[in-house]
Symmetry: C2
Subunit: 237 residues, 2 copies
DNA sequence: ATATACAACTTATTATAACAAGTTAGATGC
DNA sequence: GCATCTAACTTGTTATAATAAGTTGTATAT
């Protein structure tokens, strides 16, 4: 749609350069005048592109000063962990990811908790199942659906012990912009108690999430079951 | 800051007119040409204002068609409900709010789940306890802390059956911009099972939330206990 | 040395203009 | 009647231009 416009090209170029680390965090991006000359476009085009970067929280603009490169934002809607006890430091946490089910192309589920967009229905979708462990304790089980938006080689990637969202950001330029969540508590059934190695009937958190990406009308869908006995879920938005 | 600019004035004007219901939902806003003539500004100014409305999710633009007025967006981080069964429509829900503890000025709690900002520590804080019921079923219990940022007459307001966030928005111009959440599941203890009228030990959702407002360094803090047997929590961000 | 003033940057606002591209409804042709 | 084309809308993109306003470092005056 907007892929062949100048401002969008410029936006993607700068986005890439920032994510690849070409500009040091906290330093200033080239000024609008410099960019103007470098990319042979005019000020409105530059400003349009920079505005998209501000929306991505990749830069912050300061009148009279310049555009400061921000640290890679912690993804909105992305879940992380926190120890339940006050003393436990998050730094100690040894996080592992076990892939239960390698990414496979599937068709869309029949009764999804969120209705896929039309654009998504026209695409294949990768399904992925994983368990995350903290200090060797299985903490949550997650099923993910990721629409195949030119995810070349996605199936061959090694997801163990890698942040899925880091991979999506660095390899495919996909970031999470917002999220919708449905949350409830549930007693662990047989399957989950086995998977997470907890007692049958102990309270777990269930979430169904739709993660809106920076690609229009493309979302990542996630179902998760979390054992929150010793760790809790942390989520910013 | 930007209050005396033309695009910002136009933005606020249109925002007000939309919220006040001057434009029917789903209909088209006046075209850019019409707005241009009505407000005596040029196209870039119009477009800048409309862009802010898009960010607010108050309108959606369609090339060649116009700007469609959207239903009032559910606030970021604000929790709403959804029936568990697919058939139940949210429209049927009869929502009530019971204030357990009227707003009172208190001092900051000793071991908060989130560290208050310095600015907040210099202010009083209102504490408020409420239970929300859906179709006469007690669904969640919430404790709220709201820093006293010139909330004149806040204690004398009637919060029953009113959306707290609507009040904050319309009377005090306070809106929620983002949120941090800590989530876990728990078995209901004696107090909660009594409050929410559920069985001892049934799984409930516990959340501690920090809601960032549009006032810099001012947050609203919320602790909640939710019975999600028949309804689930819904939260966008 | 320290404070002030200023020049040279930066981004922000606004106007004007021309053309591209999507949508819609009515006119036209069959 | 029905499909097609077209004219008249709509928003989207991009360029040029002038001015406002915030920031920073240097030169100047005290």
């Amino acid at each position: 749609m907007q892929k062949d416009t100048k401002y969008f090209e410029l936006y993607r170029s700068l986005q890439n350069r920032i994510i690849k680390g070409e500009f040091m965090l906290g330093t200033l991006l080239p000024s609008e005048t410099e960019l103007k000359q470098a990319y042979h476009v005019t000020q409105p085009t530059i400003r349009h592109a920079l505005e998209l970067l501000v929306n991505d929280r990749l830069i912050k603009k300061h009148q009279g000063k310049g555009s400061i490169v921000l640290p890679r934002p912690v993804g909105v809607g992305i879940i992380s962990f926190e120890g339940r006890s006050v003393t436990s430091q998050n730094d100690d946490l040894e996080i592992q990811t076990k892939i239960i089910c390698d990414p496979t192309k599937v068709s869309w589920p029949a009764n999804p908790p969120f209705i896929p967009t039309e654009k998504e229905l026209q695409l294949d979708v990768y399904q992925l199942e994983r368990i995350r462990t903290l200090n060797n304790e299985d903490v949550f089980f997650e099923k993910l659906w990721i629409p195949n938006v030119q995810l070349d080689g996605f199936c061959t990637l090694n997801f163990n012990n890698n942040s899925l969202y880091e991979i999506l950001a660095s390899l495919y330029n996909i970031t999470i912009k917002s999220s919708e969540q449905k949350i409830w508590a549930k007693a662990a059934d047989e399957r989950i108690s086995t998977l997470l190695n907890i007692e049958l009937g102990s309270p777990i958190v269930r979430m169904e999430r739709r993660l809106e990406t920076n690609i229009p009308n493309i979302n990542i869908y996630s179902s998760l079951w979390a054992n929150t006995e010793n760790y809790l879920l942390y989520c910013i938005s």
